[in-house]
Every structure is written in C-alpha cells, then in structure tokens.
C-alpha cells in the first residue's frame, strides 16, 4: 500500500533482552526483591518494546489509534450534547407553556369571579362553570408541571397552597354574597389581592426560571462544536505527526491507511460542524420566530385577563377604583406591546390585535359611563354577554389569541424536533469514523512494523 521511494532502511536490531532476574522464592525480605524484580522486568519489557524505530512506530500507532478513538467518542459526545440540549430546550419550552397556561387560567378564574360578582345576587351558572373549569385546569396543570420539572416542585407546592387559599376565599365570598351580606365583597377583594400578592409572584419566578433554562439550553447547543472541533483537531495533529515521522523514517511519502483515516476524520469534522451549524441556525430561527411569538402571545393573554379582572374590580370599587383602573391601563399597555411583537413576527396574530382593540373600545365606553356617574349602565355593559358587550369582545380576543398561541407552540416544538432529528445519526457516524480511523492507523503502521520482523 505504501509508496516506495527507496529500499526500506535496514532493520535495526533492538537491544538484547535483559536477562530475567531470578524468581526463586525467598522469605519476607526476599519478597520485596521479587516484587521489584517483576516491576523491573515489566519496565524492561516495555522499554524494549518501545525502543528503537519499531518501538517508536508502536508509539505512533498507539497515539494515532487513541486519538482516532477519542475523536469518535468526543464527537459523539458533542452531538449527544447538542441533541440533549435541544430536547431539554423542548421540554423546558413545554414547561414554560404549561406555566403560562396556569397563569392564564388563574387570572381568567379571577376575571370571571369578579365579573360574576358584579352581576349581584345569584351568579350566572355559565360563569360559575367557567370559573370552575379555569381553576380545575390550573390545578391539573400544576400537577403536570411538578411531574415534568423537579426543580420547580417547591415553587409549585407554594403555588398550590396559594390556589387553595384563593378558592377558599372565593367560596366564602360566594356564601356570604348569597346571603346578601356585604362581607362577601371583602372576601372577594381579599381573594383577588391574595392571588396577586402570592400566586402571581410565584408564577413570575417560575416563568423566568424556565425561560432562563430554555435560553441556557439553546446556548448549550454550541458546546457540541467545541467537542467536535477540538477532538478533530487533536486527532488530525496526531495522525499528521505520525505520518510525517513515518515518511521521514520509511522513505515512503504517504502511509495510505493513516491518510485515509485522517481524511475520514477531517471530513467528519467538517461535515459534522456544518450539520451542527445548521442546527444552530435552525434553532436561532425558532428562537426569533415561533418561540418569540409563543412568549409574546402568552404574556399578552396573561396581561389581558389581568386587565379584565381590573375592569370588574374598578366597577366593584364603585367610584374609588382609580387604582384598579391604573392597573388596567398598565396591563393593557403590556398587551399592546406583546401583540405588536407577535404581529411583527407573524401576521397570524393580527386578528388577535383587532379583537383586543375591539375590547379596549368597549372598556373606554365603560369608563366613560362610570366616570359620568352612570354606574348602572357601565355595569350592564361590563357584565352583559350580548353583541358588543365587554365580555363578548373579550371572548373574541380570547378565542383568536388562544388559537394563534396554540399553533405557535406546535410550530416551536415540531421545529425543535425537526432540527435535532439528524443528530443521533451524526453521533454514530462520527463514532464509527473514529473507530475506522483507529483501525486504519493500526493497519497502516503494522505494515511498516512487519518490515522489521
């Protein structure tokens, strides 16, 4: 296989094997001698095995083969890390979506409870049902979320407590309200403010923690490069060095098997890097596209429900609800910002923005009526469910935004899965290339070693 330039250099005989030390059994002191004798013999064997040109060849063989195998392992580890980071990013995104759904359901339950309260007397059965649905959905999701991310457990346990307290206070508010007792309103206010004081900060922490986890994992995809390129570089240097030394020593320009192994590793490094960089580009697109949409829409919905609660609370406060209206304005600003972001990312969010501005128009009308002293008409507009009422406009926004949110979540998750689906293949390809290169190194150097027998 090797290209012959001149006759092979004359084999140089290795040094004469050192005579084996005596191994005759001796009592305790002799045992030490024997042990050091065995070690000495082993060292001598290794020295003889590695000495001279054949010994150096053996060293080159070991170094090249080891570097090749290590390349295989490290490259595989690089792809495994990238793949792991991707799938963890996916899992964390799913958790994030779950937490935002919990948040949405809580503010939705509160919005419905406060609105139903405004109706006075017997609350409408369908609103009652909506409240119950939102709460049971939230508590189901809390269980799911706790199962999916152990790091969230402590916060979710607290959240569960806050939820139980909240629903307890709302029930007391209802019970008192049904008896016509004004203390019911106080229980509802306490429930609402307790929810905002305890549950919502917990959720904010949870959401932030999971957003950070997603970001960490997205960034972690780049670590795959380091494994792949560093191990590729080391292997190429070692193999290249071996080839150079062999060429000098054997007067053959190229050791073909070693060269093939080296080219294999070079190709695997280049093509593998390209594959990883493709994944990186795809993930970047997801981050700036559907993932950003998902975040924006989820946050828009949360702020929107918060605004809706505050609309009712403003009316319940009846004339001294300035603080609640201020909270409405702040929440509405958030909604506008998030929806602008979502629309900039995708036209699909446009219907949500239209529906939201329809709702804000009704809200302005409610405020106009209430500020003008017509509290009763304001309430009628706020609690009605007919065409053009606050509730029906808000429902339109709810439907439009939940639809587009669902589709952007789907898109994020399926694109993340697609981006990572070649990674396992690459992992095995690189591992196999490493092993094959090691075999090539063994074969190539053995050929040269044969010439010394």
């Amino acid at each position: 296989m090797s290209v012959t330039r001149t006759a092979p250099a004359a084999p140089q005989p290795g040094p004469a094997p050192t005579p084996a030390p005596s191994t005759t059994a001796a009592p305790a002191p002799a045992r030490q001698i024997s042990a050091s004798g065995v070690a000495g013999r082993a060292v001598a064997v290794v020295r003889s095995w590695l000495s001279g040109t054949p010994g150096r060849m053996r060293l080159a063989l070991i170094a090249s083969a080891a570097a090749s195998v290590l390349f295989g392992i490290a490259a595989a580890q690089g792809f495994a890390e990238a793949g792991g980071a991707l799938s963890r990013a996916d899992a964390n995104t799913a958790q994030l979506v779950r937490l935002q759904a919990i948040h949405t359901n809580l503010v939705r339950a509160d919005a419905v409870a406060t609105n139903a309260f405004l109706v006075g007397g017997l609350e409408p059965a369908d609103q009652r049902q909506e409240y119950e649905n939102a709460l049971s959905e939230a508590s189901r999701l809390i269980t799911d979320a706790a199962r999916s991310q152990p790091a969230d457990n402590a916060a979710l346990a607290e959240l569960n407590t806050a939820l139980v307290n909240y629903s307890g206070l709302v029930e007391q508010a209802r019970a008192n309200n049904r008896q016509g007792l004004p203390v019911g309103a106080q229980y509802l206010r306490d429930a609402s403010s307790g929810l905002r004081l305890t549950a919502l900060p917990l959720l904010e922490n949870l959401v932030t923690a999971n957003e950070n986890r997603v970001t960490t994992e997205f960034d972690g995809i780049g670590r795959g490069y380091i494994w792949l390129s560093a191990s590729g570089l080391v292997a190429l240097v070692v193999i290249g060095g071996s080839m150079l030394w062999l060429a000098r020593r054997t007067h053959r320009y190229i050791n073909m098997p070693l060269a093939i192994g080296g080219v294999g590793i070079l190709l695997a490094t280049i093509v593998g890097s390209a594959a990883l960089s493709n994944v990186g580009v795809a993930v970047d697109d997801i981050r700036k596209g559907p993932y950003a949409s998902t975040l924006a829409l989820a946050q828009a919905r949360i702020s929107a429900y918060d605004a809706k609660s505050n609309e009712s609370l403003t009316l319940i406060a009846r004339g001294s609800g300035a603080a609640f209206e201020k909270a409405w304005v702040a929440a509405a600003e958030q909604v506008d910002q998030r929806l602008d972001t979502a629309v900039a990312l995708s036209d699909d969010a446009q219907p949500s923005r239209d529906a939201w501005s329809g709702y804000t128009n009704v809200h302005q009308e409610i405020r106009r009526l209430d500020n003008g002293g017509d509290w009763n008409s304001a309430v009628t507009l706020a609690i009605g469910t007919g065409e053009g009422s606050s509730n029906s406009q808000f429902d339109a926004f709810d439907r439009a935004s939940s639809e587009v949110l669902d589709s952007s979540v789907q898109q994020t998750r399926s694109e993340l899965a697609d981006a990572g689906n070649t990674l396992p293949l690459w992992r095995w390809v690189c591992f196999a290339v490493g092993l094959l290169a090691a075999l090539c190194a063994w074969w190539g150097v053995s050929q040269r070693l044969e010439e010394y027998r």
């Binding site: 006075g120 049904r178 004004p182 986890r213």
Partner: protein, 313 residues
C-alpha cells in the same frame, strides 16, 4: 495493547452515548415571605387639638346660594362619598346592587332638597381613610360615612350639625366572656385605618391594635381568627354582628361619644347651612325617625330623640 485500548474506548464510548446529557437545574426561587396583617404602628396618641365647641356648625340662614351648590346643580347630581360595606349605614345590597342604609337616606334627603329628586345622587365608595382627602381634593361634594365630628377634622373640612349620636363599643366572639377593652390585654383588636376608633384603641396600651382598610376587613380577619375582637361605633358593630351569628356586641356601655356629621368641603359655609336646614327639617317632620326605624331600630332599639343641632360657628 492497542486492541485493549480499542475495546476500552468502545466501552467508554458506549457508556457515553447511553448516558448522554442530563442537566440538573437549580430549584426555582421562591418569592420573599408575604406580610401578614401587621399590628398598626403604635405611635403614641398625639394630643388631639381641642376647640371650644366641636359640635357647633353653621346655622341655617337665608343666604344666597354659594359656589358649591351652584357647582352641584351644574353637574346635575350630588356626588357623595359613602361606604358600601357598613351594613345598616351604607352597604351594597348584593341582590339589587343598590347601596342603602341610614347614611344613604340622609343623602337622598339632601339630593331631594337640591333637585327635587332624591335619586339625583352619585355614590362613590370610599374607605375610612379616604374620607377627608376625597373632600379636600373635590372628588366628592359630601361624605356620609359614619364620620365623627371632632376638632382635628374641623381644621380640614366642615361638618353639618350632628345627625346621629353613636359611641364606641366592642365586638367579640359570642362565647367570649370579656366585655371591655381593659380585659383584652395582649389580644389583637381591629379597627379601620384613620378612624377615631383606631385612635381611641391605641390609648389602650395593653391591647395590640390591628388596622384594616374598612370594618368589613376587620370582620374578615375576625372570622379567620386573625384578630380577637373589633372595636368601632355601635352602629357599625351592629351591622357586623348581623353578618356573623357567632359575633356579639358586648353589653358594656359605649366608652366614647361619636357624634356623626355629614362632611363637606371647608370653603363654602353656605352649603353647610343648606344641609343643616335639610337635617333640621328631616328631624322635625319625622323623616329622620322613619330612616332610623327602617335601618337601626331592630339592632339598637327604639328611636331616641334626634340629636339637637348646635350652631354658632
């Protein structure tokens, strides 16, 4: 040797590939502990300003209408600051959504005198602490919210003549043996912020004062076992006791005098004179007694003689 290395490498590789990528995350942080209802700041009760006769208001007279009344006529309704959760005095009826009570009836009389229509009235719900700010910043034209006439408040706003004579009492659980604040040393007792009840409560130094926004807020804490008792005017406590079968107003006599007046902005005495005329007429022609009988008689006994107006300011 190289073969052994290869085998070892194979094994290591297989292990690596099998056990790739598990990340442990730090636990999600919990937000800081939330505050539970804290005892009201125990500032030493400051010496209340005194004046010759706090009950003295402006005598009704045939003066021309002042700026305040003109403004109210122009806006087409009387805007009043009231309570929506003080049963019997001013409370939202959860069934009809209307705010009703003894205080509210006084306002209907004033609206009737201005417009000839008792319902030309816009009710703004305010807390105890908002009563004086709402008047000084012009949010409301008049406040009818179990407001005690005293010298300190006269410095910021004006009062009508006294329209009801109340006094501070104590509400405890129906099984509690205690009847006075003196017996409650070390116990938590609730009163609303910026109320005369809270000021008086702070004079009982052995009691732990707890403040809430409203008396109803106190009732919620009482029902949750966060406070042992509530102190306030007999009228207000009667309304609280009516909402909780396990609460009672103790039989001990009132330990303060709480003359109620309608609060108005300080700048226009003529409006106060106008309102005083309305109250005087109502006391004389039986409308005052009718309102008392409708709201308070059941809880507080048969109607006393209406408080005699004092003028001379």
């Amino acid at each position: 040797m190289s073969r052994r290395i290869t085998i070892a490498a194979l094994l290591a590789g297989a292990l690596l590939l099998a056990g790739c990528g598990s990340s442990e995350y730090e636990a999600t942080p919990l937000p800081g502990a939330t505050a539970s209802p804290s005892p009201a700041p125990s500032s030493a009760p400051t010496a209340a300003p005194t004046c010759a006769n706090e009950l003295a208001s402006y005598a009704p007279a045939n003066e021309p209408e002042g700026a305040q009344l003109a403004k109210i006529r122009k806006q087409g309704r009387l805007i009043a600051g009231v309570s929506a959760d003080t049963l019997l005095l001013g409370a939202r009826n959860p069934v009809s959504n209307a705010i009703e009570g003894f205080d509210i009836d006084m306002l209907h009389m004033v609206a009737d005198a201005i417009f000839g229509d008792p319902n030309k009235l816009e009710l703004k719900v305010i807390t105890s602490a908002q009563r004086i700010p709402a008047l000084t910043d012009g949010t409301v034209d008049i406040v009818a919210r179990n407001m005690t006439i005293n010298c300190a408040r006269w410095q910021q706003i004006a009062f009508s003549a006294e329209y009801y004579h109340s006094g501070q009492k104590l509400l405890v659980s129906s099984k509690s043996p205690e009847t006075t604040l003196d017996q409650l040393s070390g116990k938590r007792v609730c009163a609303p912020n910026a109320s005369t009840s809270l000021e008086k409560l702070k004079q009982f130094t052995k009691v732990v004062p707890v403040a809430a926004d409203t008396h109803t807020g106190c009732l919620v804490m009482f029902q949750q076992g966060k406070v042992y008792a509530i102190t306030g005017d007999d009228t207000v406590l009667a309304g609280l006791a009516a909402q909780d079968p396990y609460a009672k107003v103790t039989k001990a006599p009132a330990f303060t005098a709480e003359p109620y007046g309608l609060g108005m902005p300080k700048n226009d005495p003529n409006f106060v004179r106008f309102v005083n005329k309305v109250l005087e007429d109502a006391k004389a022609d039986g409308r005052w007694k009718a309102a008392y009988d409708r709201w308070l008689a059941e809880a507080l006994g048969p109607a006393p003689a209406p408080p005699r107006p004092v003028y001379g300011r």
